[in-house]
């Protein structure tokens, strides 16, 4: 789906470093990982329930991105995680609608989901112990599959990204659709997110060859050719990192930063996203 999450190249969002988080540009400043206790808990609950093995990372991403665009953009980062978590708990039958609606501020519940509801036998679900959780975090979940397949495109081949052909989850951002790039690397067979996000229990895991495709930035964004960029800049040439000197709002000007046409953007794309140029 081309949802509000698909942000690459969208315009009008303004500066990265708002006045409030300017201190974040001093890399050594102790920016908190979580800005409130509920963010810390939402993060941990998401990881802990993820370890129950009832959903995969692509289902999880789809649950977060599949929101009304205005809600996605309005939600803070961990609010979106919370939206995704509640949807998955419902869709997988771990919590009932009534249980979610009984929580405080039920008006904000958004469990509408196009993910298929799969009721599991909850008696077999065993939440991991702290030791088991530590083991799972240290192990991770590789997405590469030990499958040998002949890549359709060799390194250096010109490929074009196909337009979006379905309304489900995808990892081909809109800004590359229809654009020609060059195969930069072949990364083997990886789980295919477009299928995995909508996989039913009885379906087998689908893998596809994952390429890294190199694009000329100017081919993706002709409107940002070698001209002054819109973002503004910090007028100091050198900023002092890790000292008491931080850039205050008064030193920010509109900037005169030029984008350059030789710059490139690399995007990881699966074989079904591509066609010969």
């Amino acid at each position: 789906m081309i949802g509000a999450h698909d942000l690459g190249g969208k315009q009008g969002f303004g500066r990265v470093l708002s006045a409030r988080n300017l201190d974040a540009i001093a890399s050594d400043s102790p920016e908190p990982l979580f800005h409130a206790e509920w963010e810390r808990r939402a993060f941990a609950l998401t990881l802990a329930t993820g370890m129950l093995g009832q959903w995969n990372i692509d289902e999880s991403r789809h649950a977060r991105e599949n929101q009304e665009p205005q809600r996605y953009l309005d939600n803070s980062y961990y609010e979106t995680w919370l939206v995704g978590l509640q949807k998955l708990l419902y869709a997988k039958g771990l919590l009932e609608r009534e249980e979610l609606e009984s929580l405080p501020f039920a008006a904000s519940v958004d469990i509408a989901t196009n993910q298929s509801i799969q009721r599991h036998d909850r008696s077999t679900i065993e939440p991991p112990t702290p030791a088991k959780a530590a083991e799972l975090l240290a192990k991770g979940g590789p997405t590469s599959l030990p499958e040998l397949r002949q890549p359709k495109y060799a390194v250096g081949t010109k490929v074009q990204v196909l337009p979006m052909t379905h309304a489900g989850h995808t990892r081909a951002p809109q800004y590359v659709h229809g654009v020609t790039g060059i195969i930069y690397a072949i990364n083997g067979v990886h789980i295919y997110p477009d299928a995995n996000a909508h996989r039913r229990d009885e379906d087998t895991i689908v893998g596809e060859i994952l390429y890294t495709v190199s694009f000329a930035r100017v081919a993706l964004f002709p409107s940002h050719a070698s001209h002054a960029a819109s973002g503004g800049g910090v007028s100091e040439d050198k900023r002092v990192r890790g000292s008491v000197t931080t850039t205050d709002a008064s030193t920010i000007d509109k900037g005169n930063v030029k984008e350059c046409n030789q710059d490139r953007v690399f995007v990881d794309l699966w074989e079904p996203y591509l066609t010969h140029d």
Binding site: I25, A133, K238
Partner: protein
């Protein structure tokens, strides 16, 4: 959407709330209680997860990787050939670091990492991402106008340096290997690691020579 002046509710578009509504506190607390009560979550496991990312996994891991690559040509080569394996040899592996790629800066090339679709980030070497990395302005602009974004961080590159932006759309996680600053000849790995910042490993900054701090600090 871009005009914050006429925007009167309590959400910011850069997604880094500092004062969340208290209903979220109550709601998350109630959800946690419900999940514990139903036997779906072990409360001690929640603390283990939080402790891991607040205290054990973070950008000091990545700084060690960079410092080692600066002092060992062999490790640098291993890192550029198979970053997952090379980084695992230092003991850093796991979730959101299953398939690592290291991209090296040089006089000719400067690398920058973003995830335009969500917030993919190499957790094993950098920990959890900062708020600005997950924000709409960074995700939208890093691919279309990287030099303007870099300028916001005080990073100004020569026109002859090519910017390479890596959009983490798959499970490959990118770490930038910054250039070793001049004036650090003979430094130990531990000393060098102190110079390496998180932002330099995302690629929004360079690692400055040590003199910079002395002159300006």
């Amino acid at each position: 959407m871009s005009n914050s002046e006429d925007h009167d509710h309590d959400h910011d578009h850069d997604h880094d709330h500092t004062a969340p509504p208290s209903e979220l506190e109550l709601r998350v607390k109630a959800l946690e209680s419900l999940l514990i009560e139903k036997g779906l979550v072990n409360p001690e496991t929640l603390n283990e997860i939080i402790d891991t990312y607040e205290h054990r996994v973070g950008p000091r891991n990545g700084a060690q990787v960079v410092a080692k690559a600066w002092t060992s040509a062999e490790f640098r080569q291993a890192l550029l050939t198979d970053a997952t394996d090379a980084v695992a040899s230092l003991g850093f592996m796991g979730r959101q670091g299953e398939h690592l790629k290291v991209v090296a800066n040089s006089d000719d090339v400067h690398n920058l990492v973003v995830c335009t679709l969500c917030s993919c980030y190499p957790w094993t070497v950098l920990g959890l991402p900062p708020a600005w990395y997950k924000s709409a302005p960074y995700r939208s602009r890093a691919v279309s106008e990287p030099r303007a974004v870099l300028a916001e961080f005080g990073t100004h590159l020569a026109d002859t340096t090519r910017v390479q932006v890596w959009d983490s759309t798959a499970e490959l996680r990118y770490l930038v290997l910054p250039q070793r600053p001049v004036g650090t000849e003979g430094w130990s790995e531990a000393q060098l690691a102190e110079l390496v910042t998180r932002n330099a490993m995302i690629g929004v900054e360079v690692v400055n020579p040590p003199e910079t701090n002395e002159v300006c600090g």
